[in-house]
């Protein structure tokens, strides 16, 4: 009987503890941040080891077996490089002009800071969350709030940084919201995560005009992401609710097949400093 009562008491205390942690997420994160760091520091070497082993096996296949189309692919890539070099030469003068104007008007660089390349070594396991584990942490200069990108576009931001690994919240996470602007018209809106690698454009004023195929970039007004990072393309128009338009968006980065990502170590944002955010 005594034993039974003690078990119930332990259960009550444990549940109360978990409930309190969940109820006060900001304080919980601040006080219990060491728990996340400890768990990530213990598990990261194993995840990294598995990643290395899988890459080793995949490397044998890619380096010896899957080279049958290499010559044709090589020629196509050479042509693409030539086209891109011409494009780059044209863009270079535009960049120099923009830099001169920025210096003239004393404007800060919209994306200041270094890029750190990281490998994805883990992925969130549940349906309701959209996070990744990457193999770079505070020892590599990463901090909470750092933007994570691929050459194609925005991936998300670091929500917890351990010593040798970090947790990245994808833009498709239900708790994620990114302030965006349409590339051409500069109409403002929010790209909200929907789970299952889907995102949606929301809070666009009913008077703002846009169409399928329009590109979205970060506006920098949320104080989280630097301005000008590609976010996605409008793929379908949605209904108008409460004088606000919605649309389905195809993310610029392929969120389902991320292997390597780039992290902006210092994210300076025009119109407000990027502050570390709690989850």
């Amino acid at each position: 009987m005594q034993n039974n009562r003690a078990t119930w008491m332990i259960l009550f205390v444990v549940l109360l503890g978990h409930g309190m942690l969940a109820a006060v997420p900001t304080a919980g994160t601040a006080r219990a941040g060491w728990v996340r760091t400890l768990v990530l520091d213990i598990l990261t070497p194993v995840e990294r080891g598995v990643d290395v082993a899988v890459r080793g096996v995949g490397g044998v296949w890619n380096d010896y077996v899957a080279l049958l189309d290499a010559r044709r692919e090589n020629e196509a890539l050479r042509e693409e490089i030539a086209e891109l070099q011409m494009q780059m030469a044209r863009d270079r003068s535009a960049v120099q002009e923009a830099r001169r104007l920025r210096e003239f008007y004393d404007l800060p660089d919209p994306i200041a800071g270094d890029l750190v390349a990281a490998r994805v070594i883990g992925r969130d396991a549940t349906m309701s969350r959209e996070t990744l584990t990457i193999d770079k942490g505070t020892t590599h200069g990463l901090e909470v709030g750092a933007s994570v990108v691929t050459p194609s576009g925005l991936v998300g931001r670091v929500i917890h940084a351990a010593h040798w690994s970090s947790t990245v919240q994808l833009i498709s996470d239900p708790d994620s919201a990114v302030a965006v602007a349409l590339d051409e018209s500069r109409v403002q809106g929010i790209v909200a995560g929907q789970g299952n690698r889907a995102v949606r454009l929301e809070h666009v004023d009913a008077t703002g005009e846009f169409d399928v195929g329009d590109r979205l970039v970060t506006s920098g007004t949320d104080g989280i992401y630097p301005r000008g990072l590609p976010v996605g393309v409008v793929s379908a128009l949605g209904p108008v609710e409460n004088m606000m338009q919605m649309a389905r968006v195809r993310p610029a980065a392929d969120l389902g097949r991320l292997e390597e990502v780039l992290c902006l170590v210092v994210s300076a944002v025009i119109g407000g400093a990027a502050e570390p955010l709690s989850d």
Binding site: L15, A23, V39, D51, S128, G193
Partner: protein
Amino acid sequence: MNRPVPPRADRWRFLKPAGTLLGVVLAQGILTRYFQLFAYFDLPLVYCVYHGFTRASRGAAIAVGSTLGVLQDSLYGTALGTNGFAKTVICFVAASTGSRLDVDQWVTRVLALWLATFSDVMLKFILGVATRPDVLSSYPVTPGAWVLSAACNVVAGMILFGYRERSADEAA
């Protein structure tokens, strides 16, 4: 007065369960990294039901459910306490009912795994309503995804129970 020194095997007896719990959470993360279908599985939840039914110690069930939940929350960036709360309740209930039900019947196991999946979602939902109503509007899990997740968990659970029985038969 000297304390009796436990035998070497006893001193390290906590390593096996600790390694198992870490392995379950790691397996979930690593498998989901390479096979997206595993996003529908919840291996820590399956292990909670398995542990509750096979060990039937309620004290241990609290520890196992709580540890698995905290590991899951820590590794995947969820608010700390969310999975800890749900997994503790489920593991405790499994251990409490395991001694009263015929858990060797496959129907019982299937129903338990199915119910555990729905309970996990509902407990997190209730905790969300109670603690963070602002997050509630973005709760993304659709009924179709629940059913698929429950089916996946049942498959994983039955494989685990089957493996245990086979090992027991071979040992006998």
